[in-house]
Subunit: 63 residues, 2 copies
């Protein structure tokens, strides 16, 4: 299984906002839609800060 | 192993630009640095179009 955990960075702090994310798609300028393995979804106003596929960690930076 | 294949979309065509990508990091506005499993790297002027972790496929759109 290759889903990742998605973290959201705000200033100096970083928060795990979704586990087992299966897909990430931009829905508009500065907004990403995260889709989880179990069908859950979450919209986040952020930009991509890092995609670490080996570490199963994707970091977004809040806008 | 959870690395992905990265495709670059230009207009209607889509090209596989790197296999076994381990990490993707923005290096400046509109430019991403792809790093491969074997240490290879590639800079691409593009935006993220889709990240499909289950399908091991990341699609960038050329700027």
């Amino acid at each position: 299984m290759c889903e990742s955990n998605v973290y959201l960075k705000k200033g100096d702090s970083e928060e795990l906002i979704m586990e087992n994310v299966a897909a990430i798609t931009p829905v508009s300028e500065g907004t990403f839609l995260l889709k989880g393995l179990l069908g859950e979804s979450l919209k986040v106003k952020a930009i991509i800060e890092d995609i670490n596929l080996m570490g199963h960690k994707i970091t977004l930076k809040a806008l």
